[in-house]
Every structure is written in structure tokens, then in C-alpha cells.
Symmetry: C2
Subunit: 174 residues, 2 copies
DNA sequence: AGCATCGGTTCGTTGACTGAACCAACGGGC
DNA sequence: GCCCGTTGGTTCAGTCAACGAACCGATGCT
């Protein structure tokens, strides 16, 4: 999406948000970062995204402050991309849009279920725990496959790793 | 965004939702529909969108069941585009992403403020009324310009009409 | 030395977005 | 009847981003 050109004249926070996260692939990158994907090759494997596009999106998100690039080993040099607080605040958007997709575009039920790790109850669409009545921190959310999940669609290592119950933001082991 | 090509293999409700509403302009069309924009020329004036793209997006949204096309007069034939229940359920997503943009991308504060018409208190990011403690129906939400709004940016009739306090979904008079 | 991995960049092709022009149906004024 | 304006589109040529494949430098392994 070449957005900025017109969106900048919209006098609207939604338009400004979409300039940044409304481009093709960008919100899926954020989704994966919430799931615990951190490394270039893992985003690549899980998203089937052209390398040039992934590089560009990561750079844009780092520049905007949604992700940080962190060198976690120096030989060989390896970087990981981590969500900032600003990035973690996109989780409610990602969750709510997923739930909308679950309700209206998924015949067989949700592909993934997000629940409050402390009490096990499924999050409501707004991202709160119906049991505890409060919003749940991303680190306290557990994800697992739902009935609409189709394991035959993807067999990359990241998809396989994400099929067992998993805390959000916890690094995926590939 | 040419999305479906790769997104369809994502086994993810978010990806399916983005196939539909993740294309350039689409979520802004939904936003305007929430604001009460109904007619082709009003979308055109408010969005500065190429006509071909607007036609294509409206058709896609109608086909998907987010909007309905309703002939409200027959001579001359005039149609209006109205949100379905499925479309109105996108409001929490639109609102939450707007609030995220307010917090992180708008220097001067929110461009628009959404409040519960019954009690006047501003909605929380999740779209609930902090006073009443419950989610607010879209028809009970009132919008008005916020401190970050810049009236010099747009002077089309729709923008002008939307600058006075206004119930959501209520048709804009142009 | 030779091969593999990681995190990119480069490049030619394809396809979507853009803006301008055009068009059909209709109403209103004269 | 005739001309003009409005509405809701479609068509078309040019541009720009996405795609996929190839390539590359740094490093580790054997």
C-alpha cells in the first residue's frame, strides 16, 4: 500500500495508523511478533513474504518505534526484532480483528484461541478476561490452535512450533 | 494490496480479515460508513480516492456482506451504502486503531473524540463507557472534533458537516 | 577448503493504484 | 425540445509497489 500520499491529508488518527500498519503484510508481522517470532528467517518462513518486502517492513516498524532491533549475539552477528510498548499496544487491535474474522470469515470456528493463562478462560473480543473482568497483559495470554485450524496448510518450523500451547511473546523455538 | 494470493495459506482469521479489510482505502471506507457517509459522491469527496478504486472497494464490501446497497429513490436512481451488522462489528477495530494512532502518532491529541451520547463520557479504548461499564452501541456514540483536529486540512462538504457533534451512523447532510 | 546458514540487496516482471477523460441516465430551466 | 449540471460509474495510459529468483558477504562447521 502506498498510503502516505493521500492519507496524510485525512486529519484522522486512523488514517495515520494505517499509513504505518495498514500496508500489506505489516499487521501480520506485528501478529507474529506477538506470537513470539523474533528472527528474520522465522518471519520469512511463517509469512511466505518476499525478502525485500520483509526487510522494508521491519525497517519501517523499527523506525516508527513499533519494534526494536536487538543484537543478541555478536559472532556471528544475529539480531532479533522485539515489540516495544507501542507495538504491544497493537495487540488489542490484532485480537479484535482476528475475532471478527473468526465470527464472519471462518466456517469451522476460530483458528486460534487466546485465553488468560492464570485462570484458563477465553478472552472476550475486547481482550479482557471474562472471569477476572480485567484486560489481560500480553505476557499472560496463552494461545493454542482452535477448531478452525487446518494443520495441513502449513508445515514450516514456526507453524509447527506454534501449534502447541504457548505464551504470547515467549520466543518460538525452531 | 493484492492479498489473497498468499494470505489464503495463512490458516489465520486475522489474515482472512485482512484479505477483505486490509486493502488500501477499505478501512477508511468502513470508518466513513460508521460516521454516516452513505453516498458514492460523499465517500469520493471525503476520501480523495480514485473513482475506480472506490467503485471496486464498495463492490467488494457489498459482496462480502459488510455493506448493503440500497436504492432509496428511483428517479433518478440513487443508491446508498449502509453497514450491515457484520460491518457495524468492525467499529471496535476502527475505534481501537484510531485510539492507538491518537496515542502514538498524533502530536496534538486526538483528532476526534467518541463519547457515550447518554452520559457524555468518553469511550475507553475498547469502546465501552467507563461510566456505565458496558460496550456502547454504535448508534449511541457521539463524535466531535478533538484538539488534534486541523480544520484547515479539508474543506469538502462532508468534512465540514462532520465537524459539528454528530451521532454515528446518522446520515451526513451535504 | 568446501559447504551451509543467516540476513540481507538487486533486478526484471507482473499487477495494482492513480488521475484524467469519458459516458449514460436523469432533472431543471427556458 | 435543448442545454447544462449532478450522480455514479467505466476506461485507459502511466507509474509505482510487490513478487520471486538470483546473488552476496559474514560467519560457523567439518
Amino acid at each position: 500500500m502506498p498510503l502516505a500520499k493521500n492519507y496524510e491529508k485525512q486529519d484522522c488518527s486512523l488514517a495515520r495508523a494505517l499509513e504505518l500498519v495498514g500496508e500489506r503484510w505489516t499487521l501480520l508481522v506485528v501478529r507474529d511478533a506477538c506470537y513470539g517470532v523474533r528472527r528474520y528467517r522465522d518471519f520469512l518462513a511463517h509469512l511466505d513474504i518476499p525478502r525485500a518486502v520483509l526487510s522494508e517492513r521491519l525497517r519501517t516498524l523499527v523506525d516508527a518505534g513499533v519494534l526494536t532491533k536487538h543484537r543478541y549475539q555478536s559472532s556471528p552477528p544475529r539480531d532479533e526484532y522485539l515489540l516495544t510498548e507501542m507495538g504491544r499496544e497493537l495487540w488489542p487491535v490484532v485480537h479484535q480483528l482476528s475475532r471478527w474474522g473468526d465470527r464472519h470469515l471462518s466456517g469451522a470456528g476460530p483458528c486460534r484461541i487466546f485465553s488468560h493463562a492464570d485462570c484458563g478462560s477465553r478472552l472476550d473480543p475486547g481482550g479482557s478476561c471474562p472471569e477476572c473482568g480485567r484486560p489481560v497483559e500480553l505476557t499472560d495470554v496463552e494461545m493454542r490452535p482452535g477448531p478452525g485450524s487446518d494443520a495441513t496448510l502449513r508445515d514450516d518450523p514456526v507453524s509447527v512450533a506454534l501449534r502447541r500451547p504457548h505464551r504470547m511473546l515467549e520466543p518460538v523455538e525452531t
